[in-house]
């Protein structure tokens, strides 16, 4: 059962990484326009544009 010493922290770290990623995406405004984001995914390619709106 010594394996738990590695596995449990590993699992928590993975979960924590997910949480940090979520908070980052929220902060960078990725949930501000859910309708638009759905359409942007299928829009034609354009020349690279600015990063999402920073506030």
């Amino acid at each position: 059962m010594e394996i738990l010493v590695i596995l449990v922290p590993l699992a928590l770290m993975l979960g924590g990484a997910g949480l940090v990623a979520f908070l980052w995406s929220l902060r960078s405004g990725q949930y501000d326009d859910l309708d638009g984001a759905a359409w942007r995914a299928i829009a034609d390619d354009e020349p690279p544009q600015e990063a999402p709106v920073k506030r």
């Binding site: 979960g15 924590g16 326009d33 309708d35 638009g36």
Partner: protein, 729 residues
Amino acid sequence: MQVTRDFSHYVRAAGEGIRHIDLAVEGVHCAGCMAKIERGLSAIPDVTLARVNLTDRRVALEWKAGTLDPGRFIDRLEELGYKAYPYETESAEVAEVAESRFLLRCLGVAAFATMNVMMLSIPVWSGNVSDMLPEQRDFFHWLSALIALPAAAYAGQPFFRSAWRALSNRTTNMDVPISIGVCLALGMSVVETFHHAEHAYFDAAIMLLAFLLVGRVLDQNMRRRTRAVAGNLAALKAETAAKFVGPDEISQVPVAAIHPGDIVLLRPGERCAVDGTVIEGRSEIDQSLITGETLYVTAEQGTPVYAGSMNISGTLRVRVSAASEATLLAEITRLLDNALQARSRYMRLADRASRLYAPVVHATALITIFGWVLFGASWHDAIVTGVAVLIITCPCALGLAIPTVQTVASGAMFKAGVLLNSGDAIERLAEADHVIFDKTGTLTLPDLEVTNAADIPADIFELAGRLALSSHHPVAAAVAQAADAKSPIVGAVEEAGQGVRATVDGVELRLGRPSFCGAEALIGSVELDPEASIVAFSKNSERFILSVRQGLRPDAQAVIAALKLRNIGIEILSGDREPAVIAAAHALGIPEWRAGVTPSDKIARIEELKRRGMKVLMVGDGMNDAPSLAAAHVSMSPISAAHLSQATADLVFLGRPLAPVVAAIDASRKALHLMRQNLWLAIGYNVLAVPVAISGVVTPLIAAAAMSGSSILVMLNSLRARGASRETV
């Protein structure tokens, strides 16, 4: 005179040498529009950012400070086929956005903790029936506590705060039992873990928070969306005024930038955006938006004019006495305040449910504890069972029952062309059983049309239309539009208050008052609509009479019939003259009508109907309707309504047809039905789960399964509100 557009009020600095403006754009609805707008605007030199937000229907623009005039963006969008208005973020909307981000963060934390605690709980559940060592179980419980306690402290904030607010006001709300349940569950679990017990409820407590936060986030998102719609409407309505910045120089500025004492110019065909007094000029003004009266009033030096009046014939200079926010008749403001107070007493379905819920649940938990003690159980076991009852009855499904339906239903209404202005409008609209329509601008279209175009030779009508292009008068504009005229007649002269005349190939053409065209004799001979404005056209000695009036909305008759079919009472309350109201009532088959009604009469009528136990839906657009819109159980306005009415109305509908009224009623009835169904589902779940909890056999596994099961059931049921609005009249 030189006229400039001034947008400086809306532009703000966004970092080093960068300027930012937000524009509300009409008619953006797909990926194509987005790409078109973004490409079109990015092509303007110096623009550093052009990004469309499809949810809010806005464009954010940033550019290098310098020579670029923001007016160019609006012109460019116009070229691309979109109407745009500079948009000013209201403080209320900023607060909503911040709140919704906070809730999402809480949800993120709660969901993260739920997943990780669940990962630790499942081994414990399966270990309890196999060979897990007590030390390992304790270790897992302590780890769960380590995750769940800080997460609950953070993610529970919205509930704890609201519960505390309610308690310090000596009331109670749904958040009180939630907070008590979560705190007790966590506290008990810590104590149990300390004593090496078999069961801990960390998973249930944090999962409960996660599910409830889903409901809160949905609720908040809908509120944010309605707020954004309201903000866009305000931008669209944001009247500008031509302000004198020099003796001979005019700047077109937003009303927000006008102060009492300023002098503004009011040209024919313009709507006045401020309250003030005429200091120069003579004209007729149309005050129908304020009083409902469609006859014009003469304005000259000293006449007070109010925001919303339309200037008809001459140019006026107006000294501003009150600008934008304060522009209201004292009477209307007073009535409005009283009426709004009355409405805030309405108790939402969710509040009614929670008022019943909290005492019942807490009583059940207490009875369980004392019951077990009486039966000889130890205090420890009795309290553990009591807390289990609290956990299992925590209003997970109840918290989702209403926001999920509201979200889905408001989306469906949005597609049918109805925007929600207030969150509980759906519930109130569903109860409406009597509809009061205003006539002018509601049953009729806000713009004028020529009713007897068919009686006039086509070539004459076309000529009249071309001549009408040279006038600013709204009646002339209607004639020009009806005749589909494109090219104005060269050399046409407008005589203020009289009409337009021009000479083409030696033939004199005149369009205007009957006296101006020498056509008084014709008026008596033709049977005319009492509501119509009469305009005459003469070509040499030939004379014609054109009758111009507000036409009924194209589907008004069908909508009235559809409402009758649904057993909804209908009547007209109008501030207009009797013959005009009778004509509309007859055309639509509405037996009940009142004409020449003042705003306070309208309220009196609504109160009378209320006393008879009716739930009144008021549909109106004028400023004189605003108090009655607020007094009614629920209210609706067309998008063309006066600013004030629109702000007061619970729902706003778009476009020319009246059909959205029926669509909204249908959608809200279906939504209310589903909300009730959801509440019954939640109650049914409790009826099944509570006896199990009281009997003391609930394990954390059962609690978790029951909680998620009931929540998912409620969410799935809510999805049935989709597409409710497809069928219209």
